[in-house]
Amino acid sequence: MSEEKKQNGWNPKIAAFLCNWCTYTGADLAGVSRLKSSPCVRIIRVMCSGRVDPSFILKAFKKGADGIFIGGCHIGDCHYSEGNYKTLRRIEFLKIFLEDFGIDPKRLRLEWISASEGDKYAATTLDFEKQIRELGPLTFMN
């Protein structure tokens, strides 16, 4: 089925939770810089990556996201000092969870991208898109 979809011009849906101060700005910079980033990424701005509740991620998968991208400030550079540490722990935890749920943890990606790293944002999203394409669409059992 997935092979079919891949061939039928399937485009993955990637939900991205980006921190307002770093990655969101970085994404902005990527745009301003006219860099090519993944068009599959659907961005949700949060003030801090620490705001990302694991429920959101599960919900996003359930709602049809094939991959989820979380972008935060570099460790130590968090606008809110330590928010990204919590994100780090949640995502680590969640990856173990996702595997148990039978979802490839590669579909969840956490990256530290600062406001100045427009190029990194572009490169990472493209890479992530490629990865998701390789993994194929995410389907759910009933």
Binding site: D53, P54, S55, I57, L58, K59, F61, K62, I75, Y85, K86, L88, R89, R90, E92, F93, L94, I96, F97, D100, F101, G102, I103, L138, T139, F140, M141, N142
Partner: protein, 329 residues
């Protein structure tokens, strides 16, 4: 004419039935007030009698147990049609409960386990799978079909109210019964549809008398690994307690017995997914910033999925495990 009451057990352990009887003398009021029309656990009622009832004839149905088989589903739909008020009674009907832990596997896997790999199987009965229709000399035997996924009641039929708990506490049952009698007797308005009856709006922590501090967890312990201080919050001591993400109502029963809350009252209001929320909360208080150490600390939790979704699996965002090994291959 007395209001009619039906009780049914779908996929459940029967604990909820016992809990109903456990309301002691109050059961007499129930018997007095209601005309019990269907209660297979207690008396021999026939499905055909129910089928014969007009729609909406039963005033109140307390349905416990999850939906595991075609029979469960049939009865759920039948009783829904015949009842004015349908109550998902107990954790199984409300959110899947222990039966829904089977959602970690699919039908095939479960059958393999039970009918091929089970060590108690006699050699002759190995590889014999239950069939829905079996031709016997006496005639065809029909047994219900086993569904792939365990569902909560509201995933099959429309449910008016929920009573959580595994089982619901007798005090809570009494309160519900009294309220129902009160409504029916005195014509009070019904609570809004979907209301969770017999439970609080807060979490177990509200009922827990232990002293809580700011949390910093370096390692998780299983209850047998340490002797917890009876006055201190179990989570503070590293024992996984679902209390913070569990609806109040049981009066912190397990915690009083030095056992971490297992979460049978389900998520508190507003919480989408009890397990995910607990993950979020616990990882917030893990005391480390090093990814490797974080992973190591997380690994000290035995069976995370079973721990966090012990009761709410069927009702969680994902319902069940998504991919089976066979499918991968």
């Amino acid at each position: 004419m007395k209001p009619k009451l039906a009780l049914y057990w779908a996929s459940s352990c029967g604990g909820c039935e016992i809990a109903v009887v456990d309301i002691e003398a109050k059961i007499l009021d129930v018997a007095d007030f209601f005309d019990i029309v269907f209660w297979p656990c207690i008396m021999d009622f026939k499905y055909k009698d129910v089928e014969a009832m007009p729609d909406g004839d039963i005033t109140l149905t307390l349905f416990n147990g999850a939906i595991r088989t075609s029979e469960n589903e049939y009865l759920a739909k039948l009783l829904r049609a015949k009842s004015k008020v349908m109550v998902a009674f107990g954790s199984c009907a409300y959110e899947g409960c222990i039966p829904a832990l089977a959602n970690f596997y699919d039908k095939k896997k479960i059958f393999e386990c039970n009918y091929i790999n089970s060590p108690s199987l006699q050699e002759s009965s190995k590889n014999v799978f239950p069939q829905t229709h079996t031709q016997m000399p006496e005639g065809e035997i029909e047994i219900p079909e086993f569904w792939n996924t365990v569902k909560s009641l509201d995933q099959v039929v429309d449910v008016d109210y929920y009573v959580p708990g595994c089982p619901p506490q007798s005090t809570q049952i009494i309160a519900v019964v009294e309220a129902v009698i009160d409504i029916l007797k005195n014509g009070k308005p019904l609570p809004p549809k979907g209301t969770i009856l017999g439970a609080g709006e807060k979490t177990i922590c509200e009922e827990c008398t232990r002293e809580r501090k700011e949390k910093k967890i370096k390692k998780f312990y299983r209850p047998q690994e340490i002797i917890p201080n009876p006055d201190e919050c179990l989570l503070d001591q590293g024992i996984v307690c679902m209390g913070p993400a569990t609806r109040s109502g049981c009066d912190a029963l397990c915690i009083k017995a030095n056992m971490g809350c297992r979460g049978c009252y389900g998520p508190p209001p507003n919480v989408l997914d009890q397990g995910a929320k607990m993950v979020s909360a616990l990882s917030s208080v893990i005391d480390s910033t090093d990814p490797k150490e974080v992973r190591d600390i997380i690994k000290t939790i035995a069976d995370p999925l079973g721990t966090f979704y012990r009761f709410s699996m069927a009702h969680s965002i994902f319902h069940r495990v998504q991919k089976m090994e066979e499918e991968e291959k």
